[in-house]
Symmetry: C2
Subunit: 312 residues, 2 copies
């Protein structure tokens, strides 16, 4: 029986690393910089070094270690092959095998959003569930889908890429992906700002949002303060996201949606706006899905990465 | 090693039954009526009787039989519990355990659309793939999703209920499910007729469709004959279905879509209209998904039911 494992959350700026027990207790947690020079060729050697140093420092026995799980910002297939991570300078290669060779420990790799979903299932807002959809409302909209306790990777690692579901035929602005009318254009932090600017421009209503810079935070703060224009913005946000999650439920029929990312800091009021439209548009068989806020914050990826390797 | 299995496709009028080898060769195929009287209480005893008679008739050894797989017209969870099948008069109960008790053989039960998807993966249009979405364009729009070779059942057996994904905010007619603007209202056989009637009423164009009764078949026959109004109808059909399948791909990122049901008899031209809009709306990570026509017709459910029990 293994006692320990490493969870690694590889981001564009820093690598979050954790040493955990196989029960999910964090024993150690630290960060190293993500060195993107030289096409990111130093990233995995840096990670392997940090882990091997930690093992030495603590006088650990490699036999006690289940291995390393790693979440990566790009599409990863079930074998651990990444299909480009522009953000890191990476092209197509097998992340899992490469890190396995460098560290001399078993490695499992997954997409960061999917891995964070697994973390929320294990120790976060989705604990106790085996079928969940995690939704990350950050700069973009990310997703991770867990079916029977396992990540839905998809044929080319694009499973759970829910931010680019088409929602609006009338959109004129292009999404980062090149399409027009993607969910991400309305339900991300930048999407909320986009909606806010539209409402501010098309209405004469007084609003706290007319002073200072508008952000997802100022919008939902204003909602909580009873600002009527802010509530209209939140309604449109909820309409797009509720309708999008209803479509997702029509495909995977999850037990629970776990909502995280910066926008989710607005708290329970956010869920109210989403649920209102979700129940309106969803097929009755999925009407009773639960909604919860993510609870692990920036640690979700580390927990999920650890879980990835423990599962095997 | 087991040699044989039974595949049962339980429909509202007849029960299609098959005796197969574990390699999927059909040795015998027959039907019995579905007796819906007495709240459908005679249906499973009838099926058990038919199977036991077949075993006796052929002098088979029960030890050689893997068991019985059965597809049922209603939501079934992974334990074999059905959550009502109004069509059969059935309330909530465990179909698999009940039939197991009656027949003295292991039983696995699944939703009929899901089971048919498994059949198309095993022996039909999706052979060679492990991640597929089967779409049945019949009176309604049904779906079955296979992930890593297994049915995606969902939390309450509503996985793959893609016919009720919301597609159109402007719809005034209600769908059978009670919502308005479901995919099924445009992409089913009745949906195509609805679209046809709309185009016929709003245009003065000459069309073969102005004579006789309009059906999905007459529409696509007219498309093949070069009828310009029929082509407009097919475009709108393709727009709704292509956009719907793009949303599904944004969730599960399948290798292939397998299109079956009565409407699919139109043949490859149907796929052209769907793919045209699919690639327009889908996230680039899923752009290369394949499209194929289902090939097993009414036998898909029987094959898939058999596969259900062989997998275990």
């Amino acid at each position: 029986m293994y006692k320990f494992c490493f969870g690694v959350d590889l981001g564009g700026t820093t690598v979050k690393m954790g040493l955990l027990t196989v029960d999910g207790d964090i024993l150690d947690k630290w960060e190293i910089p993500t060195r993107k020079e030289e096409k990111g060729s130093m990233i995995l050697p840096d990670i392997a070094d940090a882990i091997l140093k930690k093992i030495e420092e603590r006088g650990m026995d490699k036999e006690d270690i289940a291995g390393i799980g790693i979440g990566v910002p790009g599409p990863v297939d079930s074998e651990g092959v990444i299909y480009k991570a522009a953000n890191l300078g990476w092209d197509v290669f097998n992340v899992a095998k490469t890190l396995e060779g460098l560290a001399g420990l078993p490695v499992k790799a997954g997409n960061d959003a999917n891995v964070a979903a697994l973390g929320e299932m294990w120790k976060g807002g989705g604990a106790g569930h085996k079928n969940l959809v995690a939704v990350t409302l950050g700069t973009g909209v990310g997703g991770g889908i867990i079916i029977n306790g396992e990540i839905l990777t998809g044929a080319t690692g694009a499973g759970g890429e829910i931010g680019h579901i088409h929602m609006n035929d009338d959109e004129v602005d292009a999404c980062g992906c090149g399409n027009k009318g993607c969910l991400e254009q309305y339900a991300s932090a930048t999407g909320v700002v986009k909606l806010a600017k539209k409402h501010l421009a098309s209405s004469d209503k007084a609003s706290a949002l007319r002073e200072g810079e508008v952000s997802a935070k100022t919008v939902f703060d204003a909602v909580k303060a009873g600002d009527s224009l802010a509530k209209e913005i939140a309604e449109e946000f909820g309409m797009y996201l509720g309708k999008g999650l209803a479509a997702i439920a029509g495909v995977v029929n999850p037990e629970i949606f776990v909502i995280g990312g910066g926008v989710s800091k607005a708290g329970p009021v956010l869920l109210d706006y989403i649920k209102k439209y979700y129940v309106e548009y969803v097929f009755h068989g999925s009407k009773n899905a639960e909604f919860a806020l993510a609870t692990l914050g920036n640690d979700a990826g580390m927990y999920g990465a650890a879980k990835l390797i423990i599962q095997e």
